[in-house]
Amino acid sequence: MATLLRKSRALQLLGLMFPGGFWMVVFFLLPLLFIVVLSFLDNERLFTLEGYQRVFDPLYIGIFLQSIWISLLTTIISLLISFPVALFMARLPKGWRDIALFAVMIPFWTNFLVRTYALQFLMRNQGPINLLLQWIGLIDEPLSMLNTPAAVMVGLIYGNLPFMILPVYTSLEKFDWTLLEAAQDLGASAWPAFFRVMLPLTAPGLLSGSILTFVPAIGSYVTAELMGGGKATMIGRVIAGQFEQAQNWTFGSAMSLILMVIVTIFALIYFRLGRGERVAL
């Protein structure tokens, strides 16, 4: 037996792949295929395109576009915030850099639900911000900061910022600063040196961060629910609604499939741009 196992790489491979492979096929891939099938079946299990027809209702097209728009904006704003932060961190002396990294890591590992709730608590009509502003006398009536697309976006940025800062920081930390000096030595002023040298070399980190921000944003449910309330609707909320209240599985499945396709398209663009480099965790 032992010698057989030693000789046969096929047998070794089977032993290593089977348990995890089986689990992933049964409890991940198969259910996803179910979605594909069910999106074409009505309640009597007959073929239908009704689910997809409903997706093209202007109402839902609008929700899709709004979700994509909010997620793209979230990603761009996160990137614009993260780059200077990561740059600042990468230029810190070693000890301080570790502390700053630790400070980014904590939200990274902290319960997403709780963090989003903390932000929502802060921004409520009767929340600390409003009470503080009223106490100072800047406002008379509480500002209504929640239940808007902007609130959802603030929530998404807040929730996913560590996922952007960390990969951007990693690529900046690896960056060889003498290259900037070399570029300036060769006559490039600060901006060309930044765009021609620094940006291309740190692009993999920026791309990783972008995909790690965009994907959770477009599929967000918790943030949409807590920050957007009933008003600013994201795809995630619509899908969940079809399985909770509406019980329209056909439509829910069709929406899920389209969401998957959107995410996959963005992931493929990322892999193409990043030459197949994997997202750093």
């Binding site: 030693r6 491979l13 290593l16 792949m17 348990p19 995890g20 492979g21 689990w23 992933m24 096929v25 409890f27 991940f28 891939l29 259910p31 996803l32 179910f34 979605i35 200077p84 600042f88 230029r91 400070a103 890591m105 904590i106 939200p107 590992w109 902290t110 319960n111 639900l113 709780v114 963090r115 709730y117 903390a118 608590f121 802060l122 409520r124 009767q126 929340g127 600390p128 009470l131 807040y158 910022l161 560590p162 994907v215 959770p216 477009i218 599929g219 967000s220 449910y221 629910e225 995630g236 899908i239 969940a240 399985f243 829910g252 499945s253 899920s256 969401l259 992931a267 994997r278 965790l281």
Partner: protein, 281 residues
């Protein structure tokens, strides 16, 4: 002439002064953005912690210090049960995911075989696919095959979405693995079995440990998937607190959130301590 000389000689000095001013202005901008970002990340968390000690039953008006909500929380049997459920599911699914993920990493990194690209994609998909889609797909799947939802379905789902993260972490470590160390062990008389247990696994351990911590955190934090696959009476902590977060009826939820935060911070510190110890070798 003298004027000309002094003018031309002072020009470079001016330029240098200007660029120095620009550098320090740039630094000021970076520092400000970084400080604001960290404030943005941390203020909601600290405010939440502070208000978990507030006497007021509702709203954000500070009426006095109390630990009443913590006492209430620990007396809340449903909440305690949900927390224990979370720990149970987190522990078991992490153990299973660590084994499955490590075996998969070994297979995918060390063997070449037909259909490897398929597995590569499949094992990466859970990172990309929105949780909401994974959740509803499992709901449909369990409903369709007639499996009643409960602890087993919860466990199956948690293993399925955490295994890929263990796999990716361990595989990254394996990719950097110096194979000559294994050859050295074989050269010194260790067969494949001994080489694996004495050399490969111990050296892989940092990857396995961080994979395990990641899996445990993801499992403990998961709300969306758990919400779809849990059975009646099988609440995990995030699933239990969700409706209360949405309604925010009692400051007790602030206390519970604070506890979850502290737990997350504990995990970060633990992971850092483990990493430190590993890097000493």
């Amino acid at each position: 002439m003298a004027q000309l000389v002094s003018a031309s000689s002072s020009a470079p000095a001016n330029v240098a002064g200007e660029s120095r001013a620009r550098v320090s202005a740039g630094r000021l901008v970076l520092t400000t953005i970084t400080a604001a970002t960290f404030a943005f990340l941390y203020v909601p968390i600290f405010v939440l912690i502070i208000f978990s000690f507030n006497q007021a039953k509702s709203g954000a008006t500070w009426t006095g210090f109390t630990t009443e909500w913590y006492a209430k929380m620990f007396a809340n049997e449903d909440l305690i049960e949900a927390a224990l459920n979370s720990l149970l599911v987190g522990t078991i699914s992490t153990l299973v995911a660590v084994v499955l993920g490590t075996l998969l990493a070994l297979a995918m990194e060390r063997y070449s075989f037909k259909g490897k690209a398929f597995w590569d994609g499949l094992l990466y998909m859970p990172v990309i696919i929105p949780e909401i889609v994974a959740g509803v797909s499992l709901l449909l799947f369990f409903a369709f095959i007639g499996l009643e939802r409960g602890f087993p379905t919860l466990l199956a789902a948690h293993v399925a979405f955490t295994t890929p993260f263990v796999y990716l972490t361990v595989r990254a470590r394996l990719a950097d693995f110096d194979r000559s160390v294994e050859e050295a062990a074989m050269d010194l008389g260790a067969d494949e079995w001994h080489t694996f247990w004495r050399i490969t696994l111990p050296l892989l351990m940092p990857g396995v440990v961080s994979g395990a911590l990641l899996a445990f955190t993801l499992s403990m934090d998961d709300f969306i998937i758990s919400n779809f696959v849990k059975g009646v009476g099988w609440n995990t902590l995030p699933v239990y607190v969700w409706p209360q977060l949405k309604r925010a009826v009692s400051p007790e939820i602030n206390a519970a959130s604070t506890m979850l935060l502290l737990f997350s911070i504990f995990i970060v510190v633990l992971s850092l301590v483990l990493q430190r110890r590993q890097s000493r070798i």
